[in-house]
């Protein structure tokens, strides 16, 4: 709603069933993000209210405008980006002229000041730092690949996600629904085991719980039908509706995702400290952007980056071996151990007092099946630079109170392939991330792109709501806010590969997204 007028606000509110005070309308129309403000205002209004007051509006707008402002320090002018509706992530920055733009003042400064690291004054206090990891599979992989392990994993997924949904509907187990009389109202919380269209174009969604399955019909002419586009197999949803006359099928009226509640409020650090969130370094590839990397590392030594005390890397430290056929022909460093050694060397270029944490990706020398444990002892002993912490993929990393969910992002490929372009595309990689947040699972669909290694619980469930969701893998930069969770896909440090050229992917190379942990404001630095 970029040019919202009062009329549109009134119409929007009316559609939610509210009248509004004139002042409230004015306030909302003048808010930085009227659309969110309307939603917030509606949420804020008591259930019995018929008219939205100025107070409601104020509460809503305050909440909305507390949402971070996205700064871009390159070019130096700060531009504000609508967090829920960002411009195409690379559109402006990636314009051809951009290359000609002189590097930002800060960067220049630093180039001159190399070696003057201490002078740059990274005078931060390690005592105040805190970084804790939960949900890390490393060293806890107890699955032995049995059928029972798989069943346990999926049951745990069902238990965790259905727990988020149970309070919202008056659900019954599928076998109980099966026994209910035709025509009665019913609700089911289930894992999607099948989605298919009927001969008449309606959608049949089969929901499964531990007692069995039940077919649920979503009529093609209902508004709800559009939600079918967003459904993925093996995610858990709740449906409400009416049983057919013979009781054999449920006509769905409403469908709920586990989702991030709209009233979710992120936690923030209680001091001004920043974290750089990068991914996909691909050391060892002939296309590794070493100059950009060094420029980034140099910049971290400058005054401008003095508050960046954390560096989080979301996988693909190296290009790996045997990731695709004849990969050796495109490797700069053919030996996998040498690749990690070199990565470690490159990591040494960043300031020694930074806290570094990394998780593996699909190019790394760990198992591909998710959850992926962190590196083996042998590789850890190579990557000793800066005492970096190594954790599994995914991991929930709490940095000074801010919960950052790190996941490499292989499932993004699948979400993009399965969902319509408007909801998920490589151009806007944060959008498929929204979907994952909505489903509260980093890789719902089984049997396709994603490989699963069964464990005693499903480590891929987002049991806690993150404040920041950080992924990589698709080599595109994208960010946005979903229900106040900052979703960020970092670009990469590998120039376009011949494979990417052949499939029309233009990677975003050399971007360092930096999050202010006290405000969750995001700054993008380009190298």
């Amino acid at each position: 709603m970029p040019r919202s007028s009062s009329v549109r606000v009134v119409t929007a509110l009316a559609s939610h069933g509210y009248n509004a005070e004139r002042e409230a309308v004015t306030l909302i129309a003048g808010a930085s993000d009227p659309e969110t403000a309307i939603e917030r205002a509606v949420d804020a209004a008591p259930d019995d209210a018929l008219t939205l007051t100025a107070d409601h509006a104020r509460t809503a707008i305050d909440a909305t405008d507390r949402a971070p402002v996205f700064d871009e320090s390159s070019p130096p002018e700060t531009s504000t980006i609508d967090p829920d509706n960002p411009s195409v992530s690379t559109g402006t920055r990636d314009s051809p002229d951009e290359a000609e733009t002189p590097s930002p003042v800060e960067t220049k400064g630093s180039t001159d000041g190399i070696g003057a690291e201490t002078a740059a004054g990274r005078s931060n206090d390690p005592e105040r730092r805190s970084l804790a990891v939960t949900g890390d599979i490393t060293g806890r992989s107890t699955g032995t690949g049995t059928y029972e392990d798989f069943v346990r994993t999926f049951r745990d997924r069902y238990e965790q996600l259905s727990g988020m949904l149970r309070s919202r509907v008056n659900h019954r187990p599928t076998d109980a629904v099966d026994a209910m009389a035709g025509g009665s109202d019913a609700a089911i919380v289930g894992m999607i085991s099948d989605i298919r269209s009927t001969a008449n174009g309606h959608w049949l969604v089969e929901l499964e719980d531990t007692t069995g399955t039940f077919p649920c019909l979503i009529m093609k002419d209902r508004d709800l039908a559009s939600v079918v586009d967003e459904l993925l197999l093996d995610e858990v949803v709740a449906v409400e509706g009416t049983l057919a006359g013979d009781g054999g099928i449920l006509f769905v009226d409403d469908l709920h995702f586990p989702d991030v509640p709209r009233n979710h409020r992120p936690s923030t650090a209680d001091r001004h400290v920043r974290a750089a969130l990068i991914s996909d370094v691909h050391v060892g590839s002939q296309e590794f952007a070493r100059d950009r990397w060094s420029a980034f590392a140099d910049w971290l030594h400058t005054e401008a980056a003095a508050e960046i005390e954390y560096l989080l890397i979301a996988g693909d430290m190296v290009e790996g071996v045997g990731v695709y056929p004849n990969q050796d022909e495109e490797l700069d460093i053919v030996d996998i151990y040498d690749q990690y050694e070199r990565f470690s060397e490159y990591l040494k270029e960043v300031p020694g007092d930074m806290e570094v944490l990394m998780i593996p990706g699909n190019h790394d020398a760990v198992r591909l099946a998710e959850p992926q444990p962190g590196f083996t002892e042998e590789l850890r002993s190579i990557m000793t630079a800066h005492d970096a912490r190594i954790s599994g993929n995914p991991s929930m990393v709490t940095v000074e109170g801010v919960k950052i969910l790190m996941y490499h992002g292989v499932s993004l490929d699948e979400v993009i392939a399965e969902l319509p372009e408007a909801k998920a595309s490589y151009e806007e990689p944060h959008k498929p991330m929204y979907q994952l947040l909505k489903k509260r699972h980093v890789a719902p669909q089984y049997g396709g792109h994603i490989r699963i290694s069964p464990e005693e619980r499903d480590y891929l469930v987002m049991d806690e709501i993150p404040d920041v969701f950080h992924t990589g893998h698709v080599h595109k930069l994208g960010y946005g806010k979903y229900h106040d969770v900052l979703a960020l896909n970092s670009g990469c440090w590998q120039e376009q590969t011949s494979f990417q050229r052949s499939v029309n992917i233009d990677p975003d190379v050399g971007y360092a997204p930096v999050v202010d942990l006290d405000t969750l404001d995001l700054t993008i630095q380009k190298f």
Binding site: Y158, L233, D234, R367
Partner: protein, 1168 residues
């Protein structure tokens, strides 16, 4: 046609008519889906084309055009007929184009293959932005069987017809162009293309092609870049389209250009750019793989051009080494030679009677010495001239040279010797000769590679010198083939002929330095017991081995018998005195010692074996009955009631809602024309009248009459009406009545296997009686009701009764009265020229056909109530009987006649017979069926109703072979008994095969002599020499095979064993490990009790259908299977670190997935 040929065909046809008479009577009894025999006889290609397409009037028109023009021109002429409505009757323009395109493909494939019906899905018109319409041709996978030329011409015909009808051209949108490029790359990596066009080429074709190439989705992987395009209906690759664009238009551009040039309506000027090969040239490093035939041709020209530029060549003329055949090396299938490497097969030109048409002659001793990995019929993937060849035994060429454990080096020309000394073989220094006929080079358009120096060349050179060769030939004391060293030296010095090949060594395989040190060693040597004794220096020994000089090691000396010619070739005289001081600069600069030897030898020398041919094992030979999996006796549906074995008697005991033997199955819904009784049988069980399918809407349950095109739409709900229904059939009743009907008891057989469900359109079950009798005789049915036996195809042009285990009397009864020389046939070892439709069965095939004959006889007597037709006692009775030969991907059977048997596991027949099935003999296999079985039991009603369902089914049969109507590859076989001297000389220049005058079969096509005159240059004593089966089939586990393969790699001088190990890991083990690991972590599960499959593990843990135990479909064991072996091989054969590390990463992955971190197995150290 000669009278004897006419007589032969009449005899075949009268046999066929007799059988048809019996079969018509039997089928007329009404026990089959139709009361007629369903395989129509086609006398010629025109008949076949019309029969396969079912378009009336095509046959007559084809016959009219045939005499006047080429087949390609006729296809275009027919397109005009279609466009102007003279042939075919279509309501729409799309239909007209479709008819024309199908007819063109049928014509170009001689009406044999299934491509015209299965490979073209449909043709549609779509709108251009400018209001005109363009043509979309939807290709499907089976278009592959048409071959590149027909594929490409189908596009041309579509365009031509379009132009005649006044329709617009297709203009590809930019994203569609990009999509073509991405899609073809994807298809190439997933399925593989013979020719992989560069992206620029693909885009260029897409931009210019005036017809939209479209197709059905094939394959699982989707394109990732250009998805969801408006005018492209799928995100999967369209396999048929990819084939037509890449292997058709891109690869065969020169051939199409010939026809576009002649047509006014069609203008494809862009083909010139494509042919010029300039598209995408600037990206030089991304060289396309290139077609096998075109690539070496190019290399050859480059080389000879280079020669002309320089005055003095700097090295010998050789074809470039080509290693493409080593790609995708498979564990257990050994490499026999790396590309063009010394020690590999030596190219010898010639044709033996079982040679030609994509086969290669190998000495049987070689077959044994490569640890029996090669047998008659084993496929060899080869460096040149083609991509692959079937191996045939030829024992008159030179065998392999080996070094035994006692240090002796000798050539082995006797298979018995080979078996005796095999255990003592330390190294195979040379694989022996490799016989390839001239026609092979013609067919592959491959420049002639320099010939080995052989007797048949030398004798022509000797004759040309003025020596009295005739006198020598007549002399009892002289053996021109194996002279003594002194004779050889005398002839070489006295006359101006090169040294006899027997004493010509591989000087081109050693270095000049090695030559010099050998000369030194010889000068320092002495004669002991008539043998030259040399000090056993390692480098001397190695040089002798490289030269292939037979020698032995006695005490402290290397002993060389018959050394005189070797000594003289080194420029050393009888007194072991050197005749030269030093070598010239030119000799020194030459990359090998050939020039040196020529300089110092007192006679002229030819290169002994300039062309070495690399190869590896492809498919093993085959001679096996064709069985569905699981085997099927009766095409009667029994659902899941028969268990996993599909056991009918188990189904007969199945309990369904209290009724024993009742099983719900999907069968045809039929209605009696007379009494309206509903049944699934083709005859009314009540009144015996015919029944007809009844189409009903499954929702509204009202009857619908299908329209002309076979579509039946429900008038009420517009749903599709079907002719099938679920019905509870009492299998017990069926079973008991079938047994009763044919008078058999259940103990007549072990098990009677049915099918789970029927896949045909009308779901007509086969009468179970036939199954009972099949089970009784231990034969099983293919999907179309016939009984088949598969054999690797091999060619043979003349045979001896003795080697076929038949008597000379039987041969005379078959109409063979004269041998190759025109002498009367009296003895069973005389060689007679094979007739074109006569076939030799493998022992296994004979046994299987005997069982089939017994089944057919029982069927005729016990089911149809007629007299037996065959009445065989033993396999001799099979001689003279008619069979069908039929190849996969085709729809036409060819009638053949059995004339004998071979112990080789292959089907030998005339090359024309194989060609008429559109097979060559490079390892292809196809089947034989007993004639009466096909006539009685084949029915279209059984064929699966899906893409490709009509492939591999005898929709039509050819009763006689017309040489002008077969795949013309067979015409390229040479038919002479010797090659002229000029030919051998031309090979040294790497001349174009067309530049040499040797008669090929083509010369006789269309003449009276077209069925005769297939002479050969090289003898072989028997069609079945060497091992009976390849070791690949006799060795047990994959690990055993691979160990044997690597062991052999170590022994062969021409093979680099590390490279072999590396490739096995790269192409076999790693893909297997990676694939299984991927499959494991996204696998389906399956109920152990009822077989229900689940995409994902049920949350309840147990089967939702039956409550049974569900388990994984991919287990730990199958994932981890090869990691140990692969790691061991990588270590043992010293593979690259990259390979070892990939295995390390995988091993770590396996550990991570399959082992509990908290319960790690302790190392042995913990217990020490």
């Amino acid at each position: 046609m000669r009278p004897e040929d006419e007589h032969y065909f009449e005899r075949l046809e009268s046999g066929l008519d007799e059988a048809l008479g019996v079969a018509e009577t039997a089928r007329g009894m009404g026990g089959d889906p139709t009361p007629e025999v369903e395989i129509p006889v086609a006398k010629d290609m025109a008949d076949r084309v019309e029969n396969i397409l079912g378009i009336e009037g095509v046959a007559d028109r084809v016959r009219e055009l045939e005499g006047q023009m080429s087949r390609e021109e006729a296809a275009l002429e027919l397109a005009e007929d279609f466009a102007e409505g003279r042939v075919g009757d279509y309501e729409t323009q799309a239909g007209t184009i479709e008819g024309a395109v199908r007819t063109a493909v049928a014509l170009l494939t001689e009406g044999v293959v299934a491509a015209p019906i299965e490979g073209i899905d449909r043709v549609e018109l779509a709108d251009n932005p400018d209001g005109t319409q363009f043509v979309r041709v939807f290709y499907a996978g089976p278009i592959r069987s048409a071959g590149g030329t027909a594929q490409a011409l189908s596009v041309l015909v579509a365009d031509y017809t379009r132009a005649l009808l006044g329709l617009g051209a297709y203009e590809a949108r930019e994203e569609e162009v990009e999509r073509y490029a991405e899609e073809i790359d994807l298809y190439d990596s997933e399925t593989g293309l013979q020719y992989s066009p560069k992206d620029e080429e693909t885009k260029f074709i897409a931009e210019n092609c005036p017809v939209m190439l479209d197709g059905e989705a094939t394959g699982q992987e989707e394109v990732s870049g250009f998805r969801d395009l408006e005018r492209v209906g799928t995100n999967n690759p369209r396999g048929g389209m990819c084939l037509v664009l890449a292997e058709g238009i891109a690869q065969k551009a020169p051939k199409i250009e010939r026809y576009t040039a002649e047509l006014d309506e069609v203008d494809w000027p862009w083909l010139d750019d494509l042919i010029a090969g300039t598209i995408g040239e600037d990206e030089g490093h991304d060289e396309p793989a290139g077609s096998e035939s075109a690539e070496p041709a190019g290399d050859g020209t480059d080389e000879s051009e280079a020669e002309e530029v320089e005055d003095e060549p700097t090295g010998p003329v050789r074809p470039d080494a080509a290693g493409k055949y080593l790609r995708d090396l498979i564990a257990g299938r050994p490499v026999f030679g790396h590309p063009s490497r010394p020690g590999g097969f030596r190219l010898r030109y010639g044709r033996s009677r079982n040679n030609g048409f994509a086969t290669a002659g190998v000495h049987p001793a070689t077959m044994h010495l490569v640890d029996d990995f090669l047998a008659t019929g084993t496929q060899l993937k080869t460096e040149r001239p083609g991509k692959a060849a079937g191996v045939v035994p030829v024992d008159s060429i030179e065998g392999p040279t080996v070094r035994l454990a006692n240090g002796e080096v000798r050539r082995i020309d006797d298979p018995e010797d080979a078996l005796e000394c095999r255990n003592g073989v330390e190294a195979i220094l040379d694989l022996g000769e490799y016989l390839v006929n001239y026609g092979e080079f013609v067919e592959n358009n491959h420049p002639l590679a320099p010939a080995s120096y052989t007797y048949e060349w030398w004798i022509q050179e000797f004759e040309a010198t003025g020596a009295d060769v005739r006198a020598l030939r007549d002399s009892p004391r002289v053996d021109l083939g194996e002279p003594s060293p002194s004779e050889a030296i005398e002839w070489a010095t006295e006359y101006d002929a090169p040294l006899h090949p027997q004493y010509t060594y591989c000087w081109h395989d050693i270095s000049v330095e090695a030559f010099e040190s050998l000369a030194e060693a010889v000068v320092a040597g002495e004669y002991v017991e008539g043998m030259l004794a040399l000090e056993p220096l390692p480098e001397v020994r190695e040089t002798l081995e490289d030269l292939l000089v037979p020698h032995s090691q006695a005490g402290d000396a290397l002993r060389i018998p018959n050394s005189a010619a070797l000594v003289r070739s080194l420029g050393i005289d009888e007194g072991l005195e050197r005749t030269w001081e030093s070598l010239s600069t030119a000799a020194h600069e030459w990359p090998n010692a050939m020039k040196a030897a020529r300089e110092v030898a007192p006679f002229s020398l030819r290169e002994r074996a300039p062309t070495r041919i690399g190869g590896r094992m492809g498919r093993p030979e085959k001679s096996e009955k064709r069985e569905l999996s699981p085997a099927v006796h009766t095409l009667f549906p029994i659902g899941e009631a028969g268990g996993s074995q599909r056991d009918v008697s188990e189904a007969a005991d199945h309990d369904h809602e209290g009724t024993r033997g009742a099983v719900p199955v999907q069968v045809g819904r039929r209605e009696c024309v007379d009494c309206d009784t509903r049944t699934y049988e083709t005859r009314c069980p009540d009144c015996g009248s015919l029944t007809e399918p009844r189409y009903e809407c499954p929702d509204c349950e009202i009857e619908v009459e299908p329209d002309e095109s076979g579509r039946a739409e429900c008038p009420r709900c517009e749903g599709e009406a079907t002719p099938t229904e679920w019905r509870v059939v009492n299998i017990r009743d069926e079973y008991e009545s079938a047994l009763r009907e044919v008078g058999e008891r259940e103990n007549a057989f072990d098990i009677l296997k049915g099918v789970k469900g029927l896949t045909s359109e009308l779901k007509t079950p086969e009468p179970m009686e036939k199954g009972v009798l099949r089970a009784k005789h231990g034969v099983s049915a293919f999907k179309d009701g016939t009984i088949r036996y598969d054999m690797t195809d091999l060619p043979v042009t003349s045979v001896k009764p003795a080697e076929l285990d038949v008597s000379v009397e039987q041969f005379r009864e078959l109409g063979y009265h004269e041998d190759m020389q025109g002498d009367p046939l009296r003895h069973d070892d005389q060689l007679v020229e094979l007739r074109v439709q006569d076939v030799v069965l493998s022992d296994g095939a004979a046994e299987h056909l005997l069982k089939t004959a017994d089944f057919v006889d029982d069927l005729l007597t016990q089911y149809y109530g007629l007299d037996p037709f065959y009445g065989f006692d033993d396999r001799d009775d099979l001689v003279g009987e008619l069979v069908f030969g039929m190849a996969p991907h085709t729809s036409a059977a060819v009638v053949g006649r059995v004339i004998g048997f071979t112990s080789a596991a292959v089907g030998y027949a005339h090359p024309y017979f194989h060609a008429s099935k559109r097979r060559n003999c490079d390892g292809d296999e196809d089947c034989v069926m007993l004639l009466m079985d096909g006539l009685l039991n084949f029915s279209k009603a059984y064929l699966p109703d899906k893409r490709g369902g009509r492939m591999d089914a005898p929709l039509v049969m050819s009763s006689r072979i017309d040489p002008s109507e077969i795949d013309d590859e067979a015409h390229n076989m040479d038919v002479v008994d010797s090659y002229p001297k000029e030919f051998y000389e031309a090979t040294l220049e790497m001349a174009d095969p067309g530049a040499v005058d040797i008669e090929i079969a083509e010369a006789n096509v269309g003449t009276d002599e077209e069925y005769t005159g297939f002479r050969h240059t090289t003898e072989t004593s028997n069609l079945a020499l060497g091992p009976a089966l390849s070791a690949y089939k006799t060795l047990g586990s994959m690990t055993d095979k691979m160990d044997a393969q690597l062991e052999l790699a170590r022994k062969l001088r021409a093979v680099d064993e590390t490279d072999v190990a590396e490739r096995i890991i790269e192409y076999h083990f790693l893909p297997d490990l990676i694939g299984n690991l991927r499959a494991f972590s996204r696998q389906k599960t399956r109920c152990l009790d009822c077989g229900t499959k689940y995409r994902r593990m049920p949350l309840s843990g147990e089967c939702r259908e039956c409550g049974g135990r569900v388990n994984l479909t991919v287990h730990e064991g199958s994932v981890k299977k090869y990691i140990g072996t692969a790691t061991r091989v990588a270590e043992e054969y010293d593979c690259r670190d990259y390979t070892k590390q990939r295995l390390e990463v995988l091993e770590m992955t396996l550990e991570s997935v399959f082992e509990n971190d908290k319960n790690k197995q302790s190392g042995i150290a913990d217990f020490m």
